[in-house]
Protein backbone atom coordinates (compact mmCIF):
# COMPACT_ATOMS: atom_id res chain seq x y z
CA UNK A 1 0.00 0.00 0.00
CA UNK A 2 1.26 3.38 -0.87
CA UNK A 3 1.59 5.79 2.00
CA UNK A 4 -0.51 8.80 1.32
CA UNK A 5 1.34 12.06 1.30
CA UNK A 6 0.51 14.12 4.37
CA UNK A 7 -1.40 17.24 3.52
CA UNK A 8 -2.27 19.58 6.32
CA UNK A 9 -5.81 20.83 6.73
CA UNK A 10 -5.80 24.58 6.98
CA UNK A 11 -8.71 26.71 8.07
CA UNK A 12 -8.59 30.31 6.88
CA UNK A 13 -10.98 32.83 8.37
CA UNK A 14 -11.30 35.58 5.80
CA UNK A 15 -13.00 38.91 6.25
CA UNK A 16 -15.77 39.55 3.80
CA UNK A 17 -14.49 42.91 2.59
CA UNK A 18 -10.82 42.44 1.92
CA UNK A 19 -9.36 38.99 2.33
CA UNK A 20 -12.25 37.03 0.91
CA UNK A 21 -12.17 39.28 -2.13
CA UNK A 22 -8.41 38.78 -2.18
CA UNK A 23 -8.93 35.03 -2.30
CA UNK A 24 -11.42 35.59 -5.10
CA UNK A 25 -8.89 37.60 -7.01
CA UNK A 26 -6.29 34.87 -6.52
CA UNK A 27 -8.78 32.49 -8.12
CA UNK A 28 -9.61 34.82 -10.97
CA UNK A 29 -5.92 35.22 -11.71
CA UNK A 30 -5.52 31.45 -11.62
CA UNK A 31 -2.93 31.57 -8.93
CA UNK A 32 -2.22 28.29 -7.21
CA UNK A 33 -2.66 27.70 -3.53
CA UNK A 34 -3.27 24.41 -1.71
CA UNK A 35 -6.72 22.90 -2.03
CA UNK A 36 -6.54 21.94 1.63
CA UNK A 37 -7.09 25.53 2.66
CA UNK A 38 -10.70 25.77 3.73
CA UNK A 39 -11.94 29.32 3.72
CA UNK A 40 -14.58 30.46 6.19
CA UNK A 41 -15.98 33.85 5.38
CA UNK A 42 -16.63 36.16 8.30
CA UNK A 43 -18.11 39.68 8.22
CA UNK A 44 -14.99 41.11 9.79
CA UNK A 45 -11.83 39.57 11.21
CA UNK A 46 -13.09 40.91 14.51
CA UNK A 47 -15.95 38.40 14.35
CA UNK A 48 -13.49 35.63 15.07
CA UNK A 49 -13.72 34.68 18.68
CA UNK A 50 -10.83 32.71 20.22
CA UNK A 51 -13.24 29.81 20.52
CA UNK A 52 -13.46 29.65 16.69
CA UNK A 53 -9.74 29.10 16.46
CA UNK A 54 -9.76 26.39 19.12
CA UNK A 55 -12.81 24.72 17.61
CA UNK A 56 -11.13 24.61 14.21
CA UNK A 57 -8.24 22.74 15.80
CA UNK A 58 -10.64 20.46 17.61
CA UNK A 59 -12.43 19.55 14.43
CA UNK A 60 -9.23 18.56 12.71
CA UNK A 61 -7.41 21.66 11.47
CA UNK A 62 -3.64 21.47 11.50
CA UNK A 63 -3.24 25.20 11.09
CA UNK A 64 -5.52 28.21 11.44
CA UNK A 65 -4.94 31.50 9.68
CA UNK A 66 -6.94 34.64 10.10
CA UNK A 67 -7.01 37.18 7.28
CA UNK A 68 -8.44 40.66 7.50
CA UNK A 69 -8.16 44.11 6.02
CA UNK A 70 -4.94 45.99 6.57
CA UNK A 71 -4.96 47.97 9.80
CA UNK A 72 -6.59 51.28 9.03
CA UNK A 73 -8.67 49.84 6.18
CA UNK A 74 -11.33 48.03 8.18
CA UNK A 75 -14.78 48.30 6.64
CA UNK A 76 -16.05 48.92 10.14
CA UNK A 77 -13.25 51.37 10.91
CA UNK A 78 -11.61 49.57 13.81
CA UNK A 79 -12.57 45.89 13.85
CA UNK A 80 -9.19 44.60 12.84
CA UNK A 81 -7.43 46.64 15.51
CA UNK A 82 -9.34 44.69 18.11
CA UNK A 83 -8.55 41.48 16.24
CA UNK A 84 -4.90 42.34 16.36
CA UNK A 85 -4.89 42.64 20.13
CA UNK A 86 -7.01 39.59 20.69
CA UNK A 87 -5.00 37.33 18.47
CA UNK A 88 -1.69 38.63 19.76
CA UNK A 89 -2.76 37.55 23.25
CA UNK A 90 -4.35 34.29 22.15
CA UNK A 91 -1.38 33.18 20.08
CA UNK A 92 0.97 34.11 22.87
CA UNK A 93 -1.15 31.99 25.23
CA UNK A 94 -1.16 29.03 22.85
CA UNK A 95 2.60 29.28 22.65
CA UNK A 96 2.72 29.43 26.46
CA UNK A 97 0.79 26.17 26.60
CA UNK A 98 3.31 24.58 24.30
CA UNK A 99 1.27 24.63 21.09
CA UNK A 100 3.52 25.15 18.07
CA UNK A 101 3.46 28.84 17.22
CA UNK A 102 3.64 28.21 13.46
CA UNK A 103 0.18 26.67 13.52
CA UNK A 104 -1.50 30.02 13.91
CA UNK A 105 -1.08 33.20 11.95
CA UNK A 106 -2.73 36.52 11.24
CA UNK A 107 -2.17 38.10 7.85
CA UNK A 108 -3.61 41.31 6.44
CA UNK A 109 -4.71 40.82 2.84
CA UNK A 110 -6.55 43.48 0.86
CA UNK A 111 -9.00 42.91 -1.96
CA UNK A 112 -6.29 43.82 -4.44
CA UNK A 113 -3.74 41.40 -3.07
CA UNK A 114 -4.66 38.15 -4.79
CA UNK A 115 -1.02 37.31 -5.24
CA UNK A 116 -0.30 37.93 -1.59
CA UNK A 117 -3.20 35.70 -0.60
CA UNK A 118 -1.91 32.81 -2.70
CA UNK A 119 1.67 33.31 -1.55
CA UNK A 120 0.59 33.50 2.10
CA UNK A 121 -1.42 30.31 1.86
CA UNK A 122 1.39 28.47 0.11
CA UNK A 123 3.88 29.56 2.69
CA UNK A 124 1.58 28.82 5.62
CA UNK A 125 0.59 25.40 4.31
CA UNK A 126 4.23 24.54 3.82
CA UNK A 127 5.16 25.62 7.34
CA UNK A 128 2.27 23.68 8.86
CA UNK A 129 3.11 20.64 6.75
CA UNK A 130 6.62 20.67 8.14
CA UNK A 131 5.17 20.51 11.66
CA UNK A 132 3.09 17.47 10.85
CA UNK A 133 -0.32 16.66 12.26
CA UNK A 134 -1.80 18.72 15.03
CA UNK A 135 -1.39 16.54 18.08
CA UNK A 136 -1.42 19.04 20.87
CA UNK A 137 -4.84 20.50 20.26
CA UNK A 138 -6.57 17.48 18.85
CA UNK A 139 -9.81 15.92 19.94
CA UNK A 140 -9.54 12.19 19.31
CA UNK A 141 -13.30 11.89 18.94
CA UNK A 142 -13.06 13.99 15.79
CA UNK A 143 -10.55 11.69 14.10
CA UNK A 144 -11.74 9.33 11.42
Amino acid sequence: MQVEEYKPLIVAFCCNWCSYAGADLAGNNRLNYPADVKIIRVPCSCRVNPMFILRAFQRGADGVILCGCHPGDCHYTSGNYYTRRRMALLFSMLDYLGIERERTRVEWVSAAEGAKFAATMNDFAQKVASLGKNKRLEDLRCKK
Binding site: R55, T104, V106
Partner: protein
Protein backbone atom coordinates in the same frame (compact mmCIF):
# COMPACT_ATOMS: atom_id res chain seq x y z
CA UNK B 1 -2.76 37.74 63.77
CA UNK B 2 -4.01 40.39 61.45
CA UNK B 3 -3.35 44.09 61.97
CA UNK B 4 -6.99 44.60 62.61
CA UNK B 5 -8.68 42.51 65.22
CA UNK B 6 -11.98 40.73 65.07
CA UNK B 7 -13.35 43.01 67.78
CA UNK B 8 -12.81 46.16 65.74
CA UNK B 9 -14.68 44.68 62.79
CA UNK B 10 -17.47 43.37 64.98
CA UNK B 11 -17.91 46.78 66.65
CA UNK B 12 -17.91 48.49 63.28
CA UNK B 13 -20.46 46.08 61.87
CA UNK B 14 -22.76 46.33 64.86
CA UNK B 15 -22.61 50.11 65.05
CA UNK B 16 -23.37 50.51 61.35
CA UNK B 17 -26.17 48.00 61.66
CA UNK B 18 -27.66 49.68 64.72
CA UNK B 19 -27.34 53.16 63.21
CA UNK B 20 -29.35 51.89 60.28
CA UNK B 21 -26.62 52.74 57.78
CA UNK B 22 -26.60 49.15 56.57
CA UNK B 23 -29.14 46.38 56.72
CA UNK B 24 -26.85 43.42 56.21
CA UNK B 25 -23.20 42.63 56.72
CA UNK B 26 -20.93 40.48 54.63
CA UNK B 27 -18.46 38.76 56.88
CA UNK B 28 -16.72 35.53 57.71
CA UNK B 29 -18.59 33.01 59.77
CA UNK B 30 -16.80 30.70 62.13
CA UNK B 31 -16.56 27.05 61.20
CA UNK B 32 -15.88 23.77 62.90
CA UNK B 33 -12.18 24.43 63.03
CA UNK B 34 -10.21 27.62 63.13
CA UNK B 35 -9.47 27.55 59.44
CA UNK B 36 -12.76 26.70 57.72
CA UNK B 37 -14.43 30.09 57.82
CA UNK B 38 -17.36 30.59 55.50
CA UNK B 39 -18.39 33.83 53.81
CA UNK B 40 -21.82 34.70 55.15
CA UNK B 41 -24.44 37.41 55.37
CA UNK B 42 -25.19 38.64 58.88
CA UNK B 43 -28.31 40.60 59.70
CA UNK B 44 -28.49 40.61 63.50
CA UNK B 45 -26.25 41.88 66.24
CA UNK B 46 -26.52 38.58 68.06
CA UNK B 47 -25.37 36.59 65.06
CA UNK B 48 -22.41 38.90 64.52
CA UNK B 49 -21.35 38.73 68.14
CA UNK B 50 -21.53 34.97 68.22
CA UNK B 51 -20.33 33.90 64.84
CA UNK B 52 -18.34 36.62 63.10
CA UNK B 53 -14.67 35.77 62.83
CA UNK B 54 -11.64 37.43 61.37
CA UNK B 55 -8.35 35.60 61.35
CA UNK B 56 -5.62 34.53 58.96
CA UNK B 57 -7.93 32.28 56.97
CA UNK B 58 -10.38 34.88 55.70
CA UNK B 59 -9.24 34.76 52.11
CA UNK B 60 -12.64 34.89 50.44
CA UNK B 61 -13.23 37.93 48.26
CA UNK B 62 -16.73 39.33 48.74
CA UNK B 63 -16.82 41.56 45.66
CA UNK B 64 -18.53 39.11 43.39
CA UNK B 65 -21.28 38.36 45.88
CA UNK B 66 -22.38 41.98 45.62
CA UNK B 67 -23.57 41.39 42.06
CA UNK B 68 -26.28 38.97 43.14
CA UNK B 69 -26.94 40.29 46.63
CA UNK B 70 -27.54 43.94 45.80
CA UNK B 71 -30.23 43.12 43.26
CA UNK B 72 -33.64 43.45 44.88
CA UNK B 73 -32.03 44.28 48.20
CA UNK B 74 -33.63 47.17 49.96
CA UNK B 75 -30.95 49.14 51.74
CA UNK B 76 -27.19 49.06 52.00
CA UNK B 77 -24.91 46.11 52.57
CA UNK B 78 -21.72 46.42 54.55
CA UNK B 79 -18.77 44.68 52.99
CA UNK B 80 -15.25 44.37 54.38
CA UNK B 81 -12.65 44.58 51.66
CA UNK B 82 -9.01 43.65 51.84
CA UNK B 83 -6.76 45.63 49.54
CA UNK B 84 -6.81 43.01 46.79
CA UNK B 85 -10.61 42.78 47.01
CA UNK B 86 -10.96 46.49 46.31
CA UNK B 87 -9.53 46.00 42.83
CA UNK B 88 -12.21 43.44 42.02
CA UNK B 89 -14.76 45.79 43.54
CA UNK B 90 -13.69 48.60 41.20
CA UNK B 91 -13.55 46.34 38.19
CA UNK B 92 -17.13 45.23 38.79
CA UNK B 93 -18.17 48.87 39.15
CA UNK B 94 -16.43 49.63 35.87
CA UNK B 95 -18.54 46.95 34.27
CA UNK B 96 -21.69 48.28 35.95
CA UNK B 97 -22.33 44.98 37.64
CA UNK B 98 -23.76 46.34 40.87
CA UNK B 99 -25.17 49.50 42.33
CA UNK B 100 -22.51 51.37 44.30
CA UNK B 101 -25.23 53.16 46.27
CA UNK B 102 -26.27 49.90 47.85
CA UNK B 103 -22.88 49.10 49.27
CA UNK B 104 -21.02 50.46 52.25
CA UNK B 105 -17.43 49.38 51.78
CA UNK B 106 -14.99 49.27 54.67
CA UNK B 107 -11.38 48.77 53.72
CA UNK B 108 -9.40 46.63 56.10
CA UNK B 109 -5.65 46.12 56.26
CA UNK B 110 -4.38 42.63 55.58
CA UNK B 111 -1.16 40.87 56.41
CA UNK B 112 -1.80 38.11 53.99
CA UNK B 113 -3.96 35.06 54.39
CA UNK B 114 -2.78 31.56 55.17
CA UNK B 115 -3.23 28.45 53.10
CA UNK B 116 -4.39 25.59 55.29
CA UNK B 117 -2.85 22.97 53.03
CA UNK B 118 0.55 24.62 53.54
CA UNK B 119 -0.07 24.67 57.28
CA UNK B 120 -0.80 20.96 57.17
CA UNK B 121 2.33 20.28 55.17
CA UNK B 122 4.32 21.62 58.09
CA UNK B 123 2.21 20.66 61.08
CA UNK B 124 0.91 17.40 59.69
CA UNK B 125 -2.64 16.09 59.57
CA UNK B 126 -5.15 16.30 62.37
CA UNK B 127 -5.06 20.07 62.92
CA UNK B 128 -7.42 20.61 65.84
CA UNK B 129 -6.67 24.17 66.86
CA UNK B 130 -4.87 27.20 65.50
CA UNK B 131 -4.00 30.14 67.76
CA UNK B 132 -2.61 33.33 66.34
CA UNK B 133 0.04 35.22 68.25
CA UNK B 134 1.54 38.15 66.42
CA UNK B 135 2.72 36.89 63.07
CA UNK B 136 3.05 33.38 64.42
CA UNK B 137 0.45 30.69 64.62
CA UNK B 138 0.42 27.87 67.11
CA UNK B 139 -0.99 24.78 65.50
CA UNK B 140 -2.26 22.06 67.79
CA UNK B 141 -2.65 18.66 66.17
CA UNK B 142 -4.02 15.34 67.27
CA UNK B 143 -0.67 13.68 66.85
CA UNK B 144 1.83 16.02 68.44
CA UNK B 145 2.07 16.77 72.11
CA UNK B 146 3.32 20.31 71.66
CA UNK B 147 1.74 22.87 69.35
CA UNK B 148 3.74 23.50 66.19
CA UNK B 149 4.79 27.11 65.75
CA UNK B 150 4.53 28.40 62.21
CA UNK B 151 5.26 31.83 60.82
CA UNK B 152 2.36 33.26 58.86
CA UNK B 153 4.83 34.34 56.19
CA UNK B 154 5.74 30.72 55.51
CA UNK B 155 2.24 29.47 54.80
CA UNK B 156 0.69 32.34 52.85
CA UNK B 157 -1.61 31.76 49.94
CA UNK B 158 0.29 32.09 46.68
CA UNK B 159 -1.47 35.34 45.90
CA UNK B 160 -0.54 36.82 49.28
CA UNK B 161 3.02 35.65 48.99
CA UNK B 162 3.19 37.71 45.82
CA UNK B 163 0.89 40.47 47.06
CA UNK B 164 0.68 43.17 44.42
CA UNK B 165 -0.77 45.93 46.54
CA UNK B 166 -1.62 46.80 50.11
CA UNK B 167 -3.33 49.95 48.85
CA UNK B 168 -7.11 50.13 48.93
CA UNK B 169 -8.46 51.58 45.73
CA UNK B 170 -12.08 51.78 46.84
CA UNK B 171 -13.80 52.26 50.18
CA UNK B 172 -16.26 54.41 52.06
CA UNK B 173 -14.28 54.10 55.21
CA UNK B 174 -10.86 52.71 55.95
CA UNK B 175 -9.82 50.98 59.13
CA UNK B 176 -6.18 51.48 59.93
CA UNK B 177 -3.63 52.98 57.59
CA UNK B 178 -3.55 52.48 53.86
CA UNK B 179 -0.66 50.59 52.33
CA UNK B 180 1.30 50.97 49.15
CA UNK B 181 1.31 49.31 45.78
CA UNK B 182 4.06 46.73 46.10
CA UNK B 183 6.76 45.53 43.77
CA UNK B 184 5.93 41.87 43.64
CA UNK B 185 7.62 39.00 41.90
CA UNK B 186 4.35 37.70 40.64
CA UNK B 187 5.51 37.25 37.06
CA UNK B 188 8.58 35.21 37.94
CA UNK B 189 6.78 31.90 37.59
CA UNK B 190 5.38 32.96 34.22
CA UNK B 191 8.83 33.97 33.04
CA UNK B 192 10.18 30.64 34.19
CA UNK B 193 7.64 28.84 32.06
CA UNK B 194 8.30 31.11 29.11
CA UNK B 195 11.96 30.20 29.30
CA UNK B 196 11.16 26.52 28.91
CA UNK B 197 11.02 24.77 25.56
CA UNK B 198 7.57 24.34 24.00
CA UNK B 199 7.77 20.63 24.73
CA UNK B 200 8.45 21.25 28.39
CA UNK B 201 5.67 23.81 28.58
CA UNK B 202 3.27 21.44 26.90
CA UNK B 203 4.18 18.65 29.30
CA UNK B 204 3.79 20.99 32.26
CA UNK B 205 0.33 22.20 31.26
CA UNK B 206 -0.81 18.79 30.12
CA UNK B 207 0.07 17.50 33.58
CA UNK B 208 -1.61 20.33 35.41
CA UNK B 209 -4.76 20.61 33.32
CA UNK B 210 -5.35 16.87 33.24
CA UNK B 211 -6.01 17.09 36.97
CA UNK B 212 -9.02 19.30 36.28
CA UNK B 213 -12.33 17.97 37.59
CA UNK B 214 -14.39 20.56 35.73
CA UNK B 215 -16.03 21.56 38.99
CA UNK B 216 -16.04 25.13 37.65
CA UNK B 217 -15.02 26.53 41.02
CA UNK B 218 -12.39 28.74 39.37
CA UNK B 219 -15.03 30.26 37.17
CA UNK B 220 -17.73 30.49 39.80
CA UNK B 221 -15.51 32.24 42.31
CA UNK B 222 -13.96 34.63 39.80
CA UNK B 223 -15.08 38.23 40.32
CA UNK B 224 -14.53 38.88 36.62
CA UNK B 225 -16.71 35.93 35.54
CA UNK B 226 -20.13 37.44 35.95
CA UNK B 227 -21.92 36.36 32.78
CA UNK B 228 -25.54 35.50 33.44
CA UNK B 229 -25.03 32.28 31.51
CA UNK B 230 -21.60 30.92 30.86
CA UNK B 231 -20.95 29.57 27.38
CA UNK B 232 -19.83 26.31 29.00
CA UNK B 233 -23.20 25.96 30.75
CA UNK B 234 -25.31 26.80 27.77
CA UNK B 235 -26.52 23.69 25.91
CA UNK B 236 -27.11 25.83 22.84
CA UNK B 237 -23.56 27.08 22.61
CA UNK B 238 -22.16 23.91 21.03
CA UNK B 239 -19.25 23.85 23.47
CA UNK B 240 -21.14 23.17 26.66
CA UNK B 241 -19.57 20.34 28.59
CA UNK B 242 -19.84 19.07 32.10
CA UNK B 243 -16.77 16.91 32.10
CA UNK B 244 -13.64 17.24 30.08
CA UNK B 245 -14.00 14.32 27.72
CA UNK B 246 -10.38 14.58 26.65
CA UNK B 247 -7.32 16.75 26.87
CA UNK B 248 -8.65 19.12 24.24
CA UNK B 249 -11.66 20.06 26.30
CA UNK B 250 -9.51 20.63 29.35
CA UNK B 251 -7.38 23.06 27.42
CA UNK B 252 -10.30 24.76 25.72
CA UNK B 253 -12.05 25.45 29.00
CA UNK B 254 -8.99 26.90 30.66
CA UNK B 255 -7.83 28.94 27.68
CA UNK B 256 -11.27 30.44 27.17
CA UNK B 257 -11.81 31.02 30.87
CA UNK B 258 -8.55 32.92 31.15
CA UNK B 259 -9.04 34.72 27.86
CA UNK B 260 -12.49 35.89 28.76
CA UNK B 261 -11.15 37.69 31.81
CA UNK B 262 -7.99 38.93 30.09
CA UNK B 263 -7.67 42.65 30.66
CA UNK B 264 -10.33 42.49 33.35
CA UNK B 265 -8.62 40.08 35.70
CA UNK B 266 -7.25 41.95 38.71
CA UNK B 267 -5.07 39.00 39.69
CA UNK B 268 -6.97 38.48 42.92
CA UNK B 269 -5.89 34.84 42.91
CA UNK B 270 -9.21 33.36 43.94
CA UNK B 271 -9.09 30.82 41.10
CA UNK B 272 -5.96 29.17 42.41
CA UNK B 273 -7.10 29.41 46.01
CA UNK B 274 -10.29 27.46 45.38
CA UNK B 275 -9.03 24.87 42.92
CA UNK B 276 -9.60 21.49 44.57
CA UNK B 277 -6.85 19.99 42.45
CA UNK B 278 -4.23 22.68 43.08
CA UNK B 279 -3.89 23.65 39.44
CA UNK B 280 -1.88 26.91 39.26
CA UNK B 281 -4.60 28.71 37.34
CA UNK B 282 -3.18 32.12 38.19
CA UNK B 283 -0.30 31.33 35.87
CA UNK B 284 -2.71 31.49 32.92
CA UNK B 285 -4.20 34.78 34.04
CA UNK B 286 -0.82 36.27 34.83
CA UNK B 287 0.46 35.35 31.41
CA UNK B 288 -2.22 37.56 29.91
CA UNK B 289 -1.49 40.34 32.39
CA UNK B 290 2.21 40.11 31.68
CA UNK B 291 1.62 40.20 27.93
CA UNK B 292 -0.76 43.12 28.22
CA UNK B 293 1.73 45.07 30.28
CA UNK B 294 4.44 44.32 27.79
CA UNK B 295 2.54 44.91 24.57
CA UNK B 296 0.09 47.64 25.49
CA UNK B 297 1.63 49.35 28.48
CA UNK B 298 1.22 48.76 32.20
CA UNK B 299 -2.38 48.17 33.09
CA UNK B 300 -3.87 47.12 36.39
CA UNK B 301 -7.52 46.16 36.11
CA UNK B 302 -9.63 47.69 38.85
CA UNK B 303 -7.18 50.42 39.75
CA UNK B 304 -9.59 53.06 38.55
CA UNK B 305 -13.30 52.89 37.99
CA UNK B 306 -14.10 53.51 34.35
CA UNK B 307 -10.71 52.69 32.88
CA UNK B 308 -10.83 51.16 29.45
CA UNK B 309 -9.67 47.56 29.44
CA UNK B 310 -6.88 46.76 26.98
CA UNK B 311 -8.95 44.33 24.93
CA UNK B 312 -11.65 46.89 24.22
CA UNK B 313 -9.08 49.42 23.24
CA UNK B 314 -6.39 49.76 20.58
CA UNK B 315 -3.76 51.97 19.10
CA UNK B 316 -2.81 52.04 15.45
CA UNK B 317 0.74 51.08 16.44
CA UNK B 318 -0.06 47.84 18.26
CA UNK B 319 2.27 44.89 17.99
CA UNK B 320 1.41 42.41 15.23
CA UNK B 321 0.36 38.93 16.38
CA UNK B 322 3.27 37.42 14.45
CA UNK B 323 5.69 39.61 16.36
CA UNK B 324 4.56 38.70 19.85
CA UNK B 325 7.00 35.85 20.04
CA UNK B 326 9.86 38.23 19.59
CA UNK B 327 8.83 39.57 22.95
CA UNK B 328 7.23 42.68 21.53
CA UNK B 329 10.47 44.68 21.57
CA UNK B 330 8.85 47.35 19.47
CA UNK B 331 6.56 48.31 22.29
CA UNK B 332 8.76 47.48 25.20
Amino acid sequence: MQKVSREILVDKAISLLNQGVVKAVFGWRKGEFDYDVTPAVFTTEKDIKENFVFNGFCGANFSKYLVAKTVNFDGKILVFLKSCDTYSFNQLLTEHRFDREKVYAVGIPCDGMADISKVKEIAGDGVSKIDFEGDMMKVTTLYQDEPVEIKLGDVLLERCYNCKSKKHVAYDELIGEDGEVLDSNRFDEVAKLEAMTPDERFAFWQGELSKCLRCNACRDVCPACTCEKCVFDNPNSGVENKAAANSFEEKMFHIIRAFHVAGRCTDCGECSRVCPQNIPLHLLNRKFIKDINQFYGEYQAGEQVGSRAPLVNYTTEDVEPCDVFKGGEENA
